[in-house]
């Protein structure tokens, strides 16, 4: 970030060419040739080297004191809210139970229905069993892969 020469204290002298170059160098804003030439100058100019070090230290300090993502704590608090947690858990339990029981009842009533020809019931049963086996294979693989997945904890 190039410092705006006008954004300084009125009594502070405007930055010289060297200071502007040092800031641009510290921020990685110089082109390859310009940066190489400046790096060569740094070897023989301790004052300039100190200037670059000061700007790098200021950059690091600014990053440390800068506010983190403002919503981080608020998100955690909202997520931990008892009402939110309670309704989420209850919602999942009810939804999962109704889906499992509903699927079992629907499958059972169809497969045990004598009015449906046996080949049709056998075909439907094989299809349901096939889907269940495929899903269990995918689920098992995922569960085994979870500990090996280093990206699960990336938040944003």
């Amino acid at each position: 970030m190039m410092l705006d020469p006008d954004n300084r204290h009125p009594e502070e002298p405007p930055p010289g060419e060297d200071e502007l170059m040092a800031m641009a160098f510290a921020d990685g804003e110089l082109g390859a040739e310009e940066a190489a030439a400046f790096a060569t100058r740094l070897k023989s100019d301790p004052a300039l080297l100190r200037l670059v070090a000061e700007h790098r230290a200021l950059d690091a300090l600014a990053r440390q004191v800068g506010h983190p993502e403002p919503a981080e704590i608020d998100w955690a608090r909202l997520k931990a809210d008892p009402t939110h947690r309670g309704s989420t858990v209850a919602g999942w339990v009810l939804l999962t139970a109704s889906a499992l029981i509903g699927a079992a009842v629907a499958s059972g009533s169809f497969l045990l229905d004598d009015s449906v020809p046996f080949p049709a019931r056998a075909l439907a049963g094989a299809g349901v069993l096939g889907l269940a086996l495929l899903f269990s294979a995918v689920l098992r693989r995922r569960l085994r892969a979870i500990p090996l997945d280093p990206y699960r904890h990336v938040q944003r």
Binding site: F25, G28, E29, L30, G31, A32, A35, A36, F38, A39, T40, K43, W75, W92, Y151, R152, V154, Q155, R156
Partner: protein, 109 residues
């Protein structure tokens, strides 16, 4: 490894271009997250479930690209870019790509 969006490396000279390096991944969240995300779509605001899946995909694609660059013996990747698309509903496809290069800093001779 230095990953730059620029085509040059400041304070260093590119001595060799090693070619294109890229990393790709497609990730998704489980059905439960997609359901919650669908509800969030009704009320607005950030959909964290999808923010997270994009972030996961971004990091994984980036790491795969870095691994390819390491394998080529690169010092840096320049002209780095991300590209995204959707290959399936609720899936995040991220491609990270750039040019692997070898660099020499002036003080290294």
């Amino acid at each position: 490894m230095l990953i730059l969006t620029t085509t040059e490396v400041a304070a260093a000279e590119i001595t060799e271009s090693l070619g294109l390096v890229r990393g790709t991944t497609v990730r998704t969240r489980h059905w439960g997250h997609n359901l919650i995300a669908a509800f969030k779509g009704l009320v607005g605001g950030e959909v964290h479930e999808y923010t997270k899946v994009i972030a996961e995909a971004r990091e994984e694609a980036l790491d795969r690209m870095k691994a390819e660059a390491f394998a080529l013996g690169a010092d840096a990747v320049v002209g780095f870019r991300f590209a995204t698309s959707e290959v399936a509903k609720n899936c995040a496809e991220v491609v990270a790509y750039g040019t692997a290069v070898k660099v020499v800093r002036p003080d290294q001779g």
